[in-house]
């Protein structure tokens, strides 16, 4: 491995250690039936849309698809295009790597569902880097970032998400 690569992944590790267990709060906003239905439409789930719109018309609570919170990648309004990284990600979606020549993929996820999310709820999220571990792979070293997000609404836990992000050095590309 080149010294540059060592510096890049070493810097990711150093930033992660500085951020570890520092929780950031986020207001995700008030979720709507339209948010749920568009999410379901992207999954070709027209049956969900029919049920949700019928519940809405009847004045019944409309519950979200169970992985709606976990499946939504970002709750930011988002920066303009010129502030995205070359791979399209924003700084928030790529913790500890701002300005570094890296690429990243998702390693996996563990989701625990709490109280069902219903339309009209204001959702809040708390997010923190939990750990960072350097590992050796067939194509070189990489860093595994572990990130936890807890979603709450009206004082109740809606979902808890533990995910791993694989960060690879891209300085030679």
């Amino acid at each position: 491995m080149s010294p540059v690569a060592e510096d890049v992944l070493g810097e990711v590790l150093a930033r992660a250690r500085d951020l570890a267990d520092r929780w950031e709060e986020e207001d995700c906003g008030v979720v709507t039936v339209k948010d749920f239905c568009r999410y379901a439409a992207a999954l070709n789930d027209t049956a969900y849309i029919g049920r949700a719109r019928a519940d809405e018309a009847a004045g019944r609570p409309v519950s979200a698809p169970p992985l709606f919170l976990a499946g939504t990648f970002s709750w930011e309004d988002g920066p303009a295009e010129d502030e995205l990284r070359p791979d399209g990600l924003t700084a928030r979606e790529s913790p500890c790597t701002q300005g570094l020549p890296v690429r990243q993929v998702h390693g996996g996820e563990s989701v625990r569902i709490g109280r069902p999310l219903v339309a009209g709820t204001r959702v809040r999220a708390a997010r923190a880097v939990r750990s960072a571990t350097r590992k050796a792979g067939r194509s070189g070293d990489f860093v595994v970032l572990a990130v936890t997000t807890r979603f709450t609404g009206d004082g109740a836990e809606l979902a808890s998400v533990d995910e791993t992000i694989i960060v690879k050095d891209n300085s030679q590309a």
Partner: protein, 131 residues
Amino acid sequence: MTTPGESCPSRSYSHSTVQLFRFSAVSWNAHRIHYDESYASFEGFPGTVVQSTLHGEMLVRHALDWAGPDARLEAVSWRNQATAVAGEPLTWRASVRSAEPGDGGLRLSLDAAIVKADGTPSVTGTVDLLL
């Protein structure tokens, strides 16, 4: 249907490039590997890459569909093993790991996987349901 070790009927499907784009859009995911084929190629992928969270949805949706309308998701976890791309034939497979009484119903845990055409697992995980 709820005996530990019993297999669920497998489900075959694929994701179109349009679906990957729409899922990226609705989940506010601008990562270019999911909708920009030339960028995905630059990163060494043979096509636009299926989102990890879309794999998670497929693990859960096929499990809920198999378990019936009274089933509720309690938890899911998965690990990405091999990249899948748009148009690639994929198969959902699952088997019952455990079935125990809980919360006034039946708590089912499934070992589930999304498998590529050559049998390589793209994603492996567990889905926990309450019936």
